[in-house]
């Protein structure tokens, strides 16, 4: 069953077409990684799919109940404590005041935040902890679909791996569906069920590749081999590392 269906989307930014003829579908329980060279419009596509941007034409069909989004910048409210930040989405999700504390505690536990961290303000937390809070904020609304907008790009390698494991444990293996935007093929190979490639100029999805097995069960060697094979032999990934700095992301 398709939970997110995107049909012939076109989006223009300041009169310049950034996305065109995009068709994409995410099935229930699937994490779809969307990769593409830097500046090809991946993030824009995620924002259109999540309803943050209105497409110029085309349809977005959302069959999930509730979505959440995790951004590259954790986007925490600086004046609110970690607990208040985690509970931010609950205000708009019509969760009663009494249940909020419970949900916050539960989400914090899922991302391994300690109760002692909850009364701290974001300025008192490290970058990794802030991203944990952002993930907890997304999980707290109990979504059945999560948008990941290059969430771990700004983190260092070790931290990124840990965050990926966190996402695999809380989303990919928990039956959630999601759209994971990344420019890192290794990350895509770790986290997703399927990889879709966006055209360098945002004109259509070039193709999909199903990954073997399920995220979390693949060995590191399998992931590495898959990425190496994809980059060496698969024409779909030929332009994945192209960079056009003039384009607006």
């Amino acid at each position: 069953m398709t939970v997110l269906g995107i049909t012939s989307i076109e989006h223009a930014y300041l009169g310049r077409s950034v996305l065109k003829d995009i068709d994409l579908a995410v099935s229930a329980g699937e994490i779809l990684a969307l990769v593409g060279p830097s500046g090809c419009g991946k993030s824009t596509l995620a924002h259109v799919a999540a309803g943050l941007l209105e497409p110029k034409s085309g349809q977005v069909e959302r069959r999930y109940k509730r979505h959440a989004m995790i951004f590259q910048d954790p986007a925490l409210l600086p004046w609110a404590t970690a607990a208040q930040n985690i509970g931010f989405g609950l205000r708009f999700a019509r969760v009663s005041r009494r249940d909020r504390a419970k949900r916050v505690a539960q989400a914090a536990q899922q991302v391994a935040l300690e109760p002692g961290d909850l009364p701290k303000y974001p300025v008192e937390l490290s970058g990794g902890m802030r991203q944990r809070v952002a993930i907890a904020r997304a999980l707290a609304v109990q979504p059945d679909f999560i948008y990941f907008d290059e969430p771990f790009t700004a983190l260092d390698v070790a931290l990124r791996r840990r965050m990926q494991d966190l996402v695999i444990a809380t989303c990919a293996n928990a039956g959630l569906s999601g759209l994971f935007i990344t420019h890192d093929l290794h990350e895509a190979a770790r986290i997703s069920h399927r990889v879709a490639v966006l055209d360098t100029h945002g004109v259509g999805i070039l193709g999909h590749r199903q990954l073997p097995g399920t995220p979390g069960e693949r060995s590191e060697a399998e992931e590495r081999d898959w990425v190496a094979a994809a980059l060496a032999r698969d024409p779909l990934f030929r332009h994945i590392h192209d960079v056009d700095e003039r384009q607006i992301a």
Partner: protein, 278 residues
């Protein structure tokens, strides 16, 4: 659950009491600065004599004398009432207009030149106009306060909206917040960074302008008392009234603006290590 709530409330109270004590303790540095000023004042008094500058001690004695006078209290209360109502008026107007201009570039483009015009007209001109329109009444003083302090509050609010973090807006939208709730939950709070300095400035302007307008419009209050002191060449009571006006301003600022600011800026203090908290 109950046990947690029970321990939660005393902890909150202790936290608040701690912050209050810290705030009171920080008054020492303020007092030190005031005593420095008094020392310079005393030196000026000793250099130029009591006719030009009466000593701080004499001035305090004059304040003490006025404090025993019922009429003086009502004069001070009149100025206080005018300044605070004028300040409330200009805050409400400035914040509403500023927020509107911050969110709507068209409004900003219309309002910006008007603000420049408003800034350029000298307050004394407004006093003359207001005197002609309203005579020596509260309305004259309030009008002058509003037109003088409006640009500061307006720009403070508009700037606060303009420099807001748009990532937070986007995040709130992603969690399903509509425009109104986005403004209330995310936008409004961010304006405080520029709005509070503007409000502090506006409050000071309100007191200064109130006294000036009273003096020139012969509208009673502290300004009227200052006019009398000038006629009598009574330097001690003139300085005493200045002292009273300043004390009123300090009292209002620390009773009204600073507590709100302290509450709103709690997170900024969280990042500061011990010893450098301001």
């Amino acid at each position: 659950m109950r046990a947690r709530t029970a321990s939660f409330i005393p902890r909150r109270l202790a936290d608040r009491a701690g912050r209050l004590l810290e705030f009171v303790w920080s008054a020492w540095s303020g007092l030190a600065a005031l005593f420095l000023l008094a020392a310079v004042w005393q030196a000026g008094h000793e250099a130029y004599g009591p006719f030009i500058l009466s000593s701080p001690q004499d001035t305090l004695a004059a304040v003490w004398h006025l404090a025993g006078d019922r009429k003086a209290w009502s004069l001070a209360a009149l100025t206080l009432q005018r300044s605070v109502t004028g300040f409330a008026l200009v805050s409400a107007m400035g914040i509403l207009l500023g927020l509107a201009a911050g969110y709507s570039p068209a409004t900003m483009r219309i309002a910006a030149p008007l603000i420049t015009v408003l800034t350029g007209v000298p307050p004394i001109a407004w006093i003359v106009l207001a005197m002609i329109w309203f005579g020596g009444s509260d309305a004259t003083v309030r009008t002058v306060i509003v037109v003088t302090a409006l640009p500061v509050v307006f720009l403070g609010a508009a700037q606060g909206v303009a420099i807001r973090d748009r990532n937070l807006d986007r995040m709130a939208k992603a969690f399903g917040a509509g425009p109104v709730r986005r403004f209330l939950a995310v936008g409004l709070r961010q304006t405080t960074a520029t709005l509070f300095p503007a409000l502090t400035l506006a409050l000071g302007t309100a007191f200064k302008v109130a006294v000036m307008a009273e003096l020139l419009a012969n509208a009673g209050g502290i300004g009227g008392a200052l006019a009398n002191a000038r006629v009598n060449l009574d330097i001690a009571s003139a300085l005493a009234w200045v002292l009273i006006a300043v004390s009123l301003l300090i009292a209002v600022e620390y009773a009204l603006v600073q507590p709100v600011k302290g509450e709103v800026d709690r997170w900024r203090r969280a990042a500061q290590p011990w010893g450098v908290k301001r």
